[in-house]
């Protein structure tokens, strides 16, 4: 459904007199299958939004190619526009318009007749449980309601692919769960959904497949389960006083470790067996201990092993 090869984009930013070229996206290859929820996971500034905006025809790539829903991005952006929907991160509704007015206009901009546009608006309002508020001005909506209107606007013309940029950022936990259901519903209706997120749990729970992006490049792709399986075994997290960390690393050289400010993570075959050994080693070295936790590898651990940084900290 989406196929990209070597997509690149750099921006020139000016700091005083100096011009600096920032390579926002440095050659992205990805394949998204029909009918899946595909997630772009990465920290802020990784190039997720820039990639999405290129695919949505809003910015022109410097290099590379892409085919979206059968249309060539560079040769025929007009056809791509007809086949996709795009929902920006910052919202897209006007304070003094009502949801229904916005939806009708949007449908008509895609070429629908007036009666067809009205019918479509009524249908998506119903689908997103917005009928009750449909004729109130957008400025009266809650954050979650307004985000649902944004997404309704993005799919009013029944696109084959819809791009959602950080669809749950800024929502409270309940609205977030609601939004996940809405996104799954879009998939159930046959749409291919492409989302960006910097939430690990969102990528894990919602997405069929993900690509992890860092610094303008894709560092790993696969299903969340596959990616986690790449890191075999368990993760033991040992919490320590800050000044004891170097001594702990010294004592644990026989393990595969990642060091943080106030904790060390060890990647081991079997956590239950390893914990007593770890404790004994630390004790023998006289390292004062804080806490010990055992968990299955998360996407954060995947991110960590690929980039050397934790997503939570970047």
């Amino acid at each position: 459904m989406i196929e990209t090869r070597g997509l690149r984009k750099s921006f020139v930013s000016r700091q005083g007199r100096e011009k600096k070229t920032v390579e926002a996206v440095r050659g992205v290859d990805l394949t998204v299958a029909e009918g899946e929820i595909f997630g772009f996971l990465g920290p802020n500034g990784a190039g997720k939004t820039t990639t999405l905006r290129m695919l949505a025809t809003l910015i022109v790539p410097d290099d590379g190619s892409a085919t979206i829903a059968g249309a060539d991005l560079r040769a025929d952006p007009g056809e791509v526009r007809r086949r996709i929907g795009y929902v920006a991160q910052g919202g897209s509704t006007w304070d003094d318009s009502t949801a229904r007015e916005e939806l009708v206009l949007q449908a008509r901009l895609y070429g629908a007749s007036k009666s067809d546009a009205l019918a479509r608006a009524a249908r998506v309002l119903e689908g997103f449980q917005l009928t009750e508020y449909a004729d109130r001005k957008c400025k009266t909506y809650s954050g979650g309601q307004r985000r649902r209107v944004d997404i309704a606007l993005g799919i009013i013309h029944e696109p084959k692919v819809v791009f959602l940029d950080e669809p749950t950022t800024g929502l409270d936990p309940q609205s977030r769960a609601h939004m996940w259901d809405e996104i799954r519903r879009l998939r159930a209706e046959g749409m291919t959904v492409f989302i960006t997120t910097h939430y690990l749990d969102e990528a894990d729970a919602l997405c069929d497949r993900i690509s992890i992006m860092d610094n303008g490049e894709i560092v790993a792709s696969g299903t969340p389960a596959e990616l986690k399986r790449e890191i075999s075994g368990d993760v033991v997290r040992v919490g320590l006083p800050v000044d004891a960390v170097p001594a702990a690393v010294q004592a644990l050289t026989s393990y595969k470790t990642e060091t943080y400010e106030d904790n060390v993570r060890l990647y081991v075959e079997d956590g239950a067996v390893a914990i007593p050994q770890i404790l004994r080693a630390l004790d023998a070295a006289g390292v004062p201990l804080g806490t010990v936790e055992l968990h299955r590898p998360s996407l954060d651990d995947v991110f960590l092993t690929k980039t050397g940084r934790s997503l939570r900290e970047s």
Binding site: R82, D96, Q106, R108
Partner: protein, 251 residues
């Protein structure tokens, strides 16, 4: 035709929003009415014309052109608010014509300007202003072209600078010399030679002369077609440029 359909869609939405808040039309009229009431009475003695009617014949057209220039130049602020709300980006991912995104908005500005101009003309009738209807309609055409040009220009600049903080001083800097060099408040016939020479390079000065000729009833004056032609050409250039800015990536 797609362009026509898209333009009317955008225009209708913009008009709907404007009419939801019609107070803006009246706010726009307030300042010119103050000029009409508080400044115009000075003109009969100052211009040394025998009647009030003649003074208004000179002043009202200038005032209307002033309104068209300023009303248009400050429309960009509304667009920056739309940019910030994400409305423009939402339009740009649809197949809508980019020219329609501009024209729909600029035509709303033209309509609201003409509404203001009608109110002011009616008020001026009270002060003995008399003008032939065909001439008046041509004068309104001139105003429409001015407003189309200045609002398109303002939208284009707004898309480039993307911030109110930059737009306000920029538009003021443009508007002030344009205003002083166009003979809007007092005709430039009283100006020293060098000043008239400079003013000849100001296209709005031609527009003001043309509009005055129409109010005077001098339809055959070359000022009329010259003013209309200059404004039409500049309006086309401004619309073409601003539509390209709508098509370019916005962020």
């Amino acid at each position: 035709m797609k362009l026509l359909r898209d333009t009317s869609l955008i225009f209708n939405r913009q008009m709907q929003l404007l009419l939801r808040n019609p107070v803006w039309i009246l706010v726009g009229v307030f300042q010119p009415v103050m000029y009409l009431l508080l400044f115009a009475p000075l003109l009969k003695p100052a211009l040394q014309v025998p009647t009030n009617a003649e003074a208004y014949e000179i002043f009202v057209p200038g005032l209307l052109v002033l309104l068209a220039i300023f009303g248009g130049l400050f429309q960009g602020f509304g667009l920056i608010a739309e940019l910030r709300a994400g409305v423009i980006e939402r339009s740009r991912v649809t197949p809508v014509s980019r020219l329609a995104l501009l024209l729909g908005r600029s035509l709303r500005d033209v309509v609201s300007l003409i509404a203001q101009a009608v109110i002011i003309t009616l008020l001026a009738l009270v002060f003995d202003l008399r003008v032939f209807v065909p001439n008046l309609l041509l004068a309104y055409l001139m105003l429409a072209l001015i407003s189309l040009m200045t609002s398109a220009l303002s939208y284009g600049v707004a898309l480039v600078v993307k911030s109110e903080d930059a737009l306000a001083p920029l538009m003021n800097t443009v508007a002030q010399p344009v205003l002083l060099l166009s003979g809007i408040l007092l005709p430039l016939t009283y100006a020293p030679g060098w000043l008239q020479g400079v003013a000849d390079w100001n296209p709005f000065s031609w527009a003001v002369n043309g509009t005055r000729a129409l109010f005077r009833g001098d339809l055959g004056a070359p000022d009329v077609w010259q003013g209309l032609l200059i404004m039409a050409v500049l309006a086309v250039v401004a619309v073409g440029w601003a539509a390209r800015e709508f098509a370019r990536s916005v962020r």
